[in-house]
Amino acid sequence: MFYSPMPMHIPDGFLTLPLALFLWLVSAGFIAAALRRVERDLDERALPLMGVLAAAIFAGQMLNFSVVGGTSGHLLGAALATILLGPWPAVLVMTSVVAVQALLFQDGGLLALGANLFNMAVLGVLVAYTVQRLFQRLVGGKRWALIAGGFAAAWTSTVAAALACGLQLAVSGLSPANLAVPAMGGVHALIGVGEGLITAAALAFLSAARRDLLTAAPGRQKADRPVLIGGMLFAVGLAVASPLASAHPDGLEWVAEQQNFIHAARAPFFELIPDYLLPGIQNEALATILAGVIGLILVAAVTVLIARGRRRAGKTGPA
């Protein structure tokens, strides 16, 4: 009956203690800020709404659909919660979901709960909020923009959480960064598509059934600048740190030296996913980062072009 859709809940014993305690502190700080904001800004109606919605998101993680072979797409819910409630209440809702998964279902450890909260409740929500707001800034409040923004927010938050999880495992000395980060990122780039599709379809359903929920949602009213900047910083930090860490794994060099295949081998056996490199740039990390940035710019450009085309089509033909 209960299914863990996301191989992302770190159990106890995997992270080094200082890292686990540090992430506990960071998450506690964010959750305390969220509690203060929610107590200040929202009325007493918010408590039952957040509580029941958290239960629904927990249950919603059971909903799946088959993709190919035995794999399936799942809902994780951070982006949906963010779009429906706004960033701070969403942090609290996802905190409840992750905490109950750890406390009641032992999905993720208790000492590692700080890290899991950081990845899924703090990072996931902040990044989802930033992406969603950027989409709205780009294309305005159209229905399809809301849905496409939901897809992008869901995908990015899933991948961001996975990359952070991979980095934490690498920092703890478990897997070399050039294995853990691309593996987590790669798997969740696919899982994120499933999550994004479900989120987009759920938003389409909600906008057809109860448009008022989406237009009146506090997250849609005014941009929360600190959250926006925080989400942006996290996203950029991850985009820079992941390829850097992958390019300089310490463990790998040792294996290569011991095996003495440092000159013999073209690609070391840990290299499961080939690098995306740009020709002409010597530094591997720099090249990977640049490739990522160029990809981002391309996506943004395509988005703007599509928006333009849509707007023009809306003027001439039936919308």
Partner: protein, 268 residues
């Protein structure tokens, strides 16, 4: 990985069930922290912790087999720790072919891997035993009296109260989809149209689940108002620690501290 559902209302008359929930929570957290603090290859300390966990499991009368089965939940995650076998410098133990090359397993790597596996298994076992002998409302009360933020505890409590309602609701949605789209009993034969169509159906289910939860929360709010809710969540103040509980807590924590100290001294 699908796991058997935990009992939402653990009942039982064992000594562990009756013990103070705060004591159980603190000792469980202490147990996990202790496991985390042990050095690599501290086998005797780890085995001591294992015997502690197994005696608690037996004492709880929660069914050792069931606990052990559920404790395998974190097993897939061990994949993430597998590379330490090869990356840690040390005396080479064995060579295995991997992706067409020879990979060397070092002694230190093997020790680290086994330690991580044992630590995570022990921590999971402790958390399992804790939740098997502590009803969730008591866990929440313990968190509240240990100064967890009141609003957060109230939120988690409310979520827990509607958790099984919403899970049932999600299961009904899944069953309805299966009957609509004629799921075949033959494995591998998938039902439904294209990928985007399947995703849209699932998204619609998620949307209607959220909609139902939002509408339910409005009814819940009305019911809370009718019972005098004014924005403040009130709860009974917890009884102060009894001397026996203090004694047990101090003895337990001292035992953990001694164990960690000894393990590090022995490890040199």
């Amino acid at each position: 990985m699908s796991v058997p559902a935990p009992d939402p209302y653990p009942q039982g008359g064992s000594r562990l069930h009756r013990a103070d929930a705060r004591l159980k929570l603190l000792l469980t957290l202490g147990f996990i922290l202790t496991a985390g603090l042990l050095p690599d290859g501290a086998w005797s300390a780890l085995i001591l912790l294992l015997s502690l966990a197994l005696s608690a499991a037996l004492l709880s009368r929660a069914g050792l087999a069931r606990l052990l089965r559920r404790s395998l939940l974190a097993l897939p995650f061990l994949l993430a720790a597998l590379p330490v076998l090869f990356t840690l410098p040390g005396e080479p133990l064995a060579q295995i072919p991997l992706f067409g090359r020879q990979a060397v397993i070092s002694q230190a790597g093997l020790e680290r891997f086994l330690t991580i596996a044992l630590k995570s298994w022990l921590s999971l076992l402790a958390a399992l035993i804790f939740s098997a002998v502590t009803p969730f409302p008591q866990t929440l009360a313990a968190m509240r009296s240990l100064r967890a933020p009141r609003l957060l505890v109230a939120l988690i409590g409310l979520m827990w109260r509607y958790l099984f309602v919403m899970v049932d609701s999600a299961e009904r949605l899944l069953r309805a989809r299966e009957s609509r789209s004629a799921a075949s009993p033959r494995p591998g034969l998938r039902s439904g149209g294209r990928l985007t169509w399947r995703a849209r159906v699932t998204g619609g289910m998620a949307g209607s689940l959220l909609l139902r939860s939002i509408e339910r929360s409005e009814r819940v709010y009305a019911a809370m108002l009718a019972r005098g809710y004014d924005g403040e969540v009130r709860s009974l103040t917890a009884a102060p620690f009894q001397p026996v509980v203090w004694g047990a807590l101090i003895a337990g924590l001292a035992f953990y501290a001694g164990l960690v100290l000894l393990a590090w001294l022995l490890a040199g």
